[in-house]
């Protein structure tokens, strides 16, 4: 199985963000991080607002998802989320202001969620930078 690859489709509600072959996918589900390698058992899992990493032969693709889910079957991985952003598409300064704004909100679910989303974006940019260096 060493030459097996995963077929990845990273799909947002209104477009396919990224698709191609990869060797490994790391995503964060509601239960914790999960890594998917070729030959993984069929899986359907909910994602949280976090970073998704796709390791391809050419390098690492980093993206953020806002919720959504992950489905794995016969080496096909689909990651679906209402909003998906690739690290290249994220404006770092905007995310930082969004984080600051979110932290100023009164405590509650909305604050938590917005902080999580903004942090995920910042982390995605940092990871992408680290990967290209």
């Amino acid at each position: 199985m060493s030459d097996a690859v995963l077929e990845i489709a990273l799909v947002a509600a209104d477009r396919i963000v990224w698709s191609g072959q990869a060797t490994m996918v790391i995503a964060r589900t509601v239960e914790g991080d999960v890594g998917v390698l070729p030959g993984h058992a069929p899986l359907l899992s909910l994602l949280t607002d976090a970073v998704v990493e796709i390791n391809t032969a050419e390098g690492v693709v980093v993206a953020t998802v806002d919720g959504g889910f992950l489905s794995v079957a016969q080496d096909r991985v689909s990651i679906l989320s209402e909003r998906v952003l690739l690290a290249e598409e994220i404006a770092l300064d905007e995310s930082e202001t969004a984080l600051a704004e979110a932290e100023a909100l009164p405590a509650g679910d909305e604050r938590e969620q917005r902080i999580r989303q903004a942090e995920a974006r910042i982390r995605a940019v940092e990871k992408a930078r680290a990967a290209t260096r």
């Binding site: 489709a9 799909v11 947002a12 509600a13 209104d14 477009r15 396919i16 589900t29 509601v30 239960e31 999960v34 058992a41 069929p42 899986l43 359907l44 899992s45 909910l46 919720g67 959504g68 889910f69 489905s71 079957a73 016969q74 689909s78 679906l80 209402e82 909003r83």
Partner: protein
């Protein structure tokens, strides 16, 4: 034929500028349709994957979810009517509204109370003009709907559907959507579908022979996954309806503007003919006056000789 030549010329001019406007609108609509179709195509993979996932969960677990269970005796039904924001699209909005009236009539006959939700300014105006209550209206996106709008509409409708009877806010037992299906550039069909409770998942083809549906593991549990999936599924269905409606609106507008341009052409032709006739009449009159004058002069000189 009392109108003077000058007035005909003015009419021709104004019709010509009107024609230019309708022609421009036709071209704009035509170019936007392509974009709308591309958007609909781009949204298809998400809907497809979501449908696959939902049918996978539905096949492998017999979990009852509040969104799929039929209320015992439905009494209140919500209708979401998807209309356009702007006019000049022929019968587009009115045929959707007619379809929604038909559905409302049917639901009332079944003894249900009908609550209306509207997308698009035209529908809002229609209901406000008739002083009919509208629970909520969303406007300002009809020719290029974004997913966020669909999500917002979806959340509202799901909340209304899940609301307990007698509780706070609106509670309904069914949700219907009336939108215009884009069949082709020439045909758009107003269609009514029931959104909630969800019926047997569409597009669940039985697996081909020898191919087994994968035995999924659900994380954290089948119920939780279904809980997360179904609202997204509903929202994606609404998004689909909005995209179809947008494409239909643009196609209807293109068609309406094309016939407006053609009509302007005919009108110009007609006015030109009348104007030419008036001009010719003027010339004939002038000639006959000159000839008459010359004759009179000739007569006068002949008499004085």
């Amino acid at each position: 034929m009392a109108v003077s030549l000058r007035e005909y010329r003015a009419r021709i001019k104004s019709t010509e500028s009107m024609k230019k406007i309708t022609r421009a609108m036709e071209l704009i609509a035509a170019s936007r349709i392509i974009k709308a179709q591309q958007r609909a195509q781009a949204a298809a993979p998400y809907a497809r994957e979501l449908t696959r996932a939902v049918s996978a969960v539905a096949t492998f677990s017999n979990v009852d979810h509040p969104l799929t269970t039929e209320p015992e005796n439905p009494r209140r039904a919500a209708i979401l009517v998807v209309t356009s924001d702007r006019g000049l699209a022929g019968a587009y909005s009115s045929s959707v509204l007619k379809e929604s009236e038909r559905l409302a009539e049917k639901l009332r006959d079944e003894g249900k109370q009908v609550l209306t939700y509207i997308a698009g300014r035209k529908g809002e105006a229609y209901f406000r003009f008739r002083n009919r209550p509208v629970v909520q209206a969303w406007t300002g996106f009809s020719d290029q709907p974004s997913y966020d709008v669909a999500a917002e509409i979806g959340e509202t409708l799901i909340a209304a559907f899940l609301a307990e009877e007698g509780g706070e806010g609106v509670d309904v037992d069914e949700v219907h959507v009336v939108y215009t299906r884009f069949v082709s550039m020439l045909t758009q069909e107003p269609t009514a579908v029931r959104l909630l409770p969800l019926e047997v998942v569409e597009g669940t083809e039985p697996p081909a022979e020898g191919e087994l549906l994968p035995l999924y593991e659900f994380e954290p549990s089948a119920e939780a996954v279904l809980d997360g999936l179904l609202p997204q599924y509903v929202q994606s269905r609404i998004f689909f309806c909005l995209l179809q409606a947008a494409a239909s609106e643009l196609a209807a507008r293109q068609k309406a503007m094309k016939s407006a341009t053609d009509n302007a052409d005919e009108l110009i032709k007609k006015y030109r003919r009348i104007a030419n006739q008036a001009r010719q009449a003027g010339i004939t009159q002038e000639i006959s006056e000159i000839v008459g004058g010359v004759n009179a002069l000739a007569d006068a000189t002949a008499a004085s000789d």
